[in-house]
Symmetry: C2
Subunit: 143 residues, 2 copies
């Protein structure tokens, strides 16, 4: 089969990404990674499962979703986001960034580091800051 669609290969493939992080790119992992890479919705494990389970050339169980999310997290491919009690959300944007929760819509928007980059230096000598996470709550203009 030689009918390759060149347009779809403009961004690095999920498969390449997994390989580069030392994660064996099984069909299930690739499909979950692809979904996370193309969404901005910060989905939960359950949302990943139902989004991916439909248009899927491969079976996918709940346990595999959790296994894969943990594997991808440990490999540094995705990050956990804690915005509300009792559920973990996932974000394939692994750059150091922050989040803005729109309290009207519940939508979670990424906020780039450069908006808040001075924070890590604010604590002076008493603390050695490895990292930090800013969680904003408010309203997005036009949201």
């Amino acid at each position: 089969m030689t009918a390759h669609n060149h347009i779809t290969e403009q961004i690095p493939s999920a498969e390449q990404l997994l390989l580069s992080r030392g994660v064996k790119p099984t069909p299930q992992r690739v499909v979950i990674a692809e979904y996370l890479l193309q969404t901005e919705s910060h989905p939960t494990a359950d949302e990943v499962l139902s989004a991916v389970a439909q248009a899927l050339p491969v079976s996918l169980s709940r346990a595999t979703v959790y296994n894969t999310l943990n594997t991808l997290k440990e490999a540094g491919v995705i990050k956990e986001v804690l915005t509300e009690p009792g559920r973990v959300r996932y974000d394939a944007n692994i750059s150091h960034h922050h989040h803005f929760v729109d309290v009207k819509t519940g939508k979670i928007v990424d906020i780039p580091l450069n908006k808040v980059e001075a924070i890590g230096k604010l604590l002076g000598d008493q603390y050695k800051v490895h990292g930090f996470q800013v969680l904003f709550y408010g309203e997005v203009e036009g949201g």
Copy 2:
């Protein structure tokens, strides 16, 4: 000042605090509020239950701990703190402040607002920031 201070209620009592927030000060609620007010450990519901259940002149069920924590949260007496997946911690320091998680010990330390107060202004016109929470990870000097 006398050498022997008989006045044990130097800080406003938990009972007064609950009354001032419109929460009926039942024995269970008072005892839970007292515990939260005197600790800096940011306990979970389960930690509240086991800490309070022992030296207690009153019975206390798990459901009451959850009921009370939710009641106190809704009344603005305490705040939730989300630092790790799958568990909610509680903080009786309701001033706007932030948290520092010591990655060696797991201890959570309060960080006052004035250390980071400029953050809310960093997002410019695109966002209306109602509030924000900074979660630091690192090491406390001498921790």
